[in-house]
Amino acid sequence: MLEIKDLCVSVLDKELLKDINLTINEGEVHVLMGPNGAGKSTLCKALLSYPSLKKEGEVIFLGKDIVHLDTSSIARLGMYYVMQSPIEIEGVKNAELIRSALDERNEGIDIFKFTKLSNSYCEALDIPKNFIHREVNVAMSGGEKKKNELLSMLFLKPKLIILDEIDSGLDVDAIKVVAACLNDYMQNNSCAILLVSHQKMLLSLLNVTHVHILGDHTIKKSGDASLINEVLATGFRNL
């Protein structure tokens, strides 16, 4: 599904990431770990062509080289990114945003179907049904913002979900809800997840298949889910 070959990322000639190689297949859950400032969020943003980041190398997504593709085209191909701190968009309601996004994909749906889907997604995420009519992330707690981003995700049906610290701001119950939502989505769709997280509870609730440790601007170590316990027990310095 996603193949990253020798990816280097820089900003204003300053190298942020170098020689990143990573392959993610359908059905897999990859976890990206690393110390603060290692470049985890930069990698996520670079995959989606954040404007100021310069990329070299290859990023093949669903058979297409997307390294020089713009953000909205990559998103329409099926990549979905939940930011660490989703921004607030005043005056734009969730429903407007999602319907516009569906229209851009030529997947517009009538209001009755939209409402029905919205109600069921809100129920799955344990949020009030009126969330769909609220302004995008405005006056929401950190946890509500994350759930709100997942609400859009359920409508847009992405193939690759990139979640940057989705656990931050979520309480214990909310983590269970989010994990259940992601597991259910994985079960019913051909997709994969790339997750930035160090939250033991969330990681234990997901079926993690691969773990990558980012440090010194590159992937230093990869392994299976057992690497999570190693990291949590000994930290990054001893790896």
Binding site: A75, P86, I87, G91, V92, L97, S100, E104, E135
Partner: protein, 207 residues
């Protein structure tokens, strides 16, 4: 919710308008020629408005004179086209007045907005807030000159003006949903205007 106020429209061609009961101004009419409209809000009355104004070649001043215990709650979302020169003045001439003026402006024309809060000596225990936000697009020139004159110590008064364009993060966020640049800008501009007009949950406001 039930509207208890009288719903009216104001034609700015009139030189003097008396507000002696609680009103919600549903519609503002701006004349083609230069105007100077003076609106007097009597004691214990309020004037409230939430309006989307499409202004083209408008030249004139609106002056609100607020009396004791009155309340001015004005929220305008303005789209300018052509060449405009608009003045919004609020004179607080009594005690315990509340005045809250918020203007969000954008468009593709030229505009000069002059705002003045004139808080007289009699306006003790009053609260005055004035906020002008301008979304400046590439092909426009909107300027704002804010002024605040306070002649008493016993008030809370503030005014601010911000001018900005779309931010990189806003456009990136919209693009993450697969929305094209043109559609993103349109949505964000609508949002900028709507944000002061739409009903806020838990807030007793008009849609």
């Amino acid at each position: 919710m039930v509207n208890k106020e009288k719903v009216i429209e104001i034609n700015c061609q009139q030189k003097k308008i008396m507000i002696d009961e609680d009103v919600f101004v549903e519609k503002w009419i701006f004349p083609n020629e230069v105007f100077d409209c003076n609106i007097y809000i009597a004691s214990n009355c309020f004037l409230k408005t939430r309006s989307l104004l499409d202004l083209e070649n408008v030249h004139g001043n609106i002056t609100f004179y607020s009396d004791s215990f009155s309340n001015l709650d004005l929220k305008w979302a303005v789209v300018f086209s052509g060449k405009n020169d608009l003045g919004v003045v609020n004179v607080l001439k009594g005690e315990k007045i509340k005045s809250d003026i918020v203007i969000h402006a954008t468009g593709n024309g030229l505009a000069s907005i002059k705002t003045l809060g004139d808080i007289l000596k009699e306006a003790r225990d009053s609260v005055f807030k004035e906020e002008v936000r301008i979304l400046s697009l590439n092909n426009q020139d909107i300027r704002c000159l804010p002024q605040l004159i306070v002649k008493t110590n016993d008030v809370v008064a503030n005014h601010n003006v911000t001018v900005r364009n779309f931010t990189v993060d806003e456009l990136f966020y919209m693009a993450l949903k697969g929305i094209s640049l043109d559609s993103s800008k349109k949505l964000l501009m609508d949002g900028f205007l709507n944000s002061i007009l739409i009903f806020k949950e838990g807030n007793d406001e008009y849609k």
